[in-house]
C-alpha cells in the first residue's frame, strides 16, 4: 500500500505558511517500509495532517490517496476496515477509555484484528515499564504512562502505516528510547511505513527523510 498527498491544503491555513511548507500544496508519496519524519512547531498543522491521513477530518482541498483510492470518497464502513488492518495511529491526545483498565484499553484494539497473542500485552507493558499498571484504570495513570498505553495499543493490530502524533511529548529520555525501539521493531515486522510528526527532529530519525511542515 502507498499513501499519496496531492496538493493538500487545509481550508484554514494562511498563505505564508502554505508557501513555506514542504507538505502543503505539494505532491508526496510514502510507500510501505518508508519512514517519514514531519517536523514543525506547535500550531502549524501536524495534528491536522495526521487526522487528514487517518480520515478523521475532511476540511482540506487536494486529495489524499490510499493506493488509488481518494479517501474523501471512502465510506465510514470501508474506513473502519482500513483502520483495522492497514493503518494504525498514536494520537497526540491519546484517546483512551479512562474508566477502563490499562489492559482493557489495549485488548479492545487487539481483539478487533489480532496481530499478537494476548500475552504480548504484558510483554510490551513490561518493556515500557507499565506492567504493574495493567489492572489500573487508565485515568489513574500519569500522562507519560498513558502515552505508553496508547503506543502499545497502536501496535496490537496489523498495519501498513503507523501514524504518530508527538507520541513522546511526556516521556523521559529512557522511556522515549524504549518506546522508539519497540515501534521500530513492530514496524519492521510488518514492513510498515511510519509517519512521525513532532516538534523537532529526534536523534532516532537521523537517517530518515525529514520534511518541514
Amino acid at each position: 500500500m502507498q499513501i499519496q498527498l496531492r496538493e493538500v491544503i487545509p481550508d484554514y491555513i494562511e498563505k505564508e505558511k502554505r508557501i513555506a511548507s514542504q507538505i502543503w500544496a505539494q505532491n508526496i508519496s510514502i510507500k510501505k517500509g518508508e519512514h517519514l519524519h514531519i517536523v514543525a512547531p506547535s500550531g502549524s498543522g501536524k495534528t491536522s495532517l495526521i487526522h487528514f491521513i487517518y480520515g478523521l477530518r475532511k476540511d482540506y482541498s487536494g486529495s489524499i490517496l490510499y493506493d488509488d483510492t481518494n479517501i474523501k470518497n471512502v465510506s465510514i464502513e470501508r474506513f473502519s476496515e482500513f483502520r483495522q488492518n492497514k493503518i494504525s495511529i498514536i494520537f497526540q491526545d491519546l484517546r483512551l477509555f479512562e474508566e477502563r483498565t490499562v489492559k482493557e484499553n489495549i485488548e479492545i484494539k487487539r481483539i478487533l484484528d489480532p496481530y499478537h497473542q494476548p500475552g504480548k500485552i504484558t510483554e510490551m507493558a513490561e518493556r515500557l515499564g507499565i506492567k504493574n499498571k495493567l489492572s489500573q484504570l487508565a485515568k489513574t495513570c500519569s500522562y507519560g504512562e498513558q502515552q505508553r498505553i496508547a503506543i502499545i495499543r497502536a501496535l496490537m493490530q496489523p498495519f501498513d502505516f503507523l501514524l504518530l502524533d508527538e507520541p513522546y511529548s511526556h516521556l523521559d529520555e529512557t522511556n522515549r528510547k524504549k518506546s522508539m525501539e519497540l515501534i521500530y521493531e513492530e514496524c519492521a515486522k510488518r514492513s510498515a511505513a511510519m509517519i512521525f510528526a513532532d516538534l523537532k527532529p529526534l536523534d532516532f530519525f537521523k537517517d530518515e527523510k525529514i520534511i518541514y511542515l
Partner: protein, 396 residues
Amino acid sequence: MPLTYKNIEPLIVSGKNNFSKWLGYFGLGIGVLLLFVSMQMFVNIGQLLRENNPRKSGGYDFISISKTITNENMGKDNSFTDADLMKLKEQPTISEVAPLISNKFRVRGTAGDIIPFSTDLFLESIDNNFIDTVPPTFTWQPGQTVVPIIFSSDFLEMYNVFAPAQGLPQLSAKTISSVNIILECSGPYGAQNFKGNIVALSDRINSLLVPKSFMNWSNLHFMEDTAVHASRVYIKTKDANDPKLISYLDQENYHLNKDKVKFSRIKSILQNIVSALGVFGILVIVLALMLFSFYLQLMIAKSKDNLRLLLTLGYSPKWLAKSVAKTWLPVYLTIIIAALILTEIFHLLFMQLSFVKSANLSYFPDWSVWITAVFLFALTIFINLNLVRKELIKII
C-alpha cells in the same frame, strides 16, 4: 475468539434509569398482549356468531320483512305488490329479494292415528336459494301425492313445549321426518288430500315451506288465483345492521324482526369493543417503542465518547449498530412469546365459557395473531437497528 458485544459492553453506558426501562418493557408487554388478545377475541366472536347465526350464510344475512300493521292499515291488503318488490330489489344494500308466497286455499293438517292432532295450517313457499336446508327431495310435480315440507325448527320447539300438556308425544328432529301429515287442501274449485312429508328443518325461515311448484299449482287448482300475494319478503343483504338499510326499511314502514338481527348487532358491538381494545393496544405499543427509542438515544448519548473512540479505533459502524441493537432482541422476543402464551391462556379460558363450549373453535391462536407476532418482532428489530445506526452516524 470472535468479537462479540460482550467485548464492548462495559463501554456502553446503559444508564441508571432502570425505572424507565422496566416501564418500557411493561408497556410493551401490555400493549402486545392487548393487541393479541383483542385480535383473537375478534376472530372468536366472528366465528362464534357465524356458527350460531343460521341467517348468516356465505357472508350474507337473510332477514324477513313485512309491512307494519297499524290501526290505519288494519284490515286492508298489506301484502307486497310487484312495485314494492321491484323497489326493494333496486336498493344497493339488498342483494336479492324473495317473497314468501302463502296458500290461498284452506289447508287442514292431521297427523293420522299415531298423533291425534288436527289443525288449520298455513303453507308458504320461497325461492330455494333462500332456504338454509334444501334436500334433493324437496321437489313436487303435479300428480305427486306426497308433498315435501321444510318445517321451522322454532315450530318444533314450540310443539315440544305444549305437546305434553295436550297429551301428545314430543318429537325429536329425527323422528319428525317419520310423522305422516295428511294435508287436506280445499277451495271453491276442488279438494284433495296430500301426504305431507317433513324432509328438513329450517333454522332460518319460520314457516311450513312447500315447493314453489306445489304452491303455484294448488293456488291455481283450488282457488284459480295466480297473483302473488306476499305478506312477508325475505331479503338477502351483506349486512343487516347497515344503517342505510335500516333507515330505508323504517322509511317504507317495513317491519323488521329485531330478534333476527340481534346476533349481528351483538357481534358488531362486541367486535367494535375488541377493535377499540386492539387500537388501544397499538397505541400503547407505539408509546412503549417511543419510550424505548428515547432510552436508546439516551444510552447512545451517554456513551457517545466511548462509541466515537471505538469507531476511531476501527470498529465498524454496522457491527456496532447491530451489536447494540441485538442486545434488546431477547427482551422483545420474551415479551412477544409471553404475550402469545397469555393470549393462548385467555383463549382457552374463553373456550371454557358455557356459550362457547359447543362452538368449534381452534385450540390455538388464530393465524393472524401469529403473523402479527412475527411482524411486531421484525418491526422492533428494524426500528432498533435503524435508530442505533442513525444515532451512531450522528456522533461520527
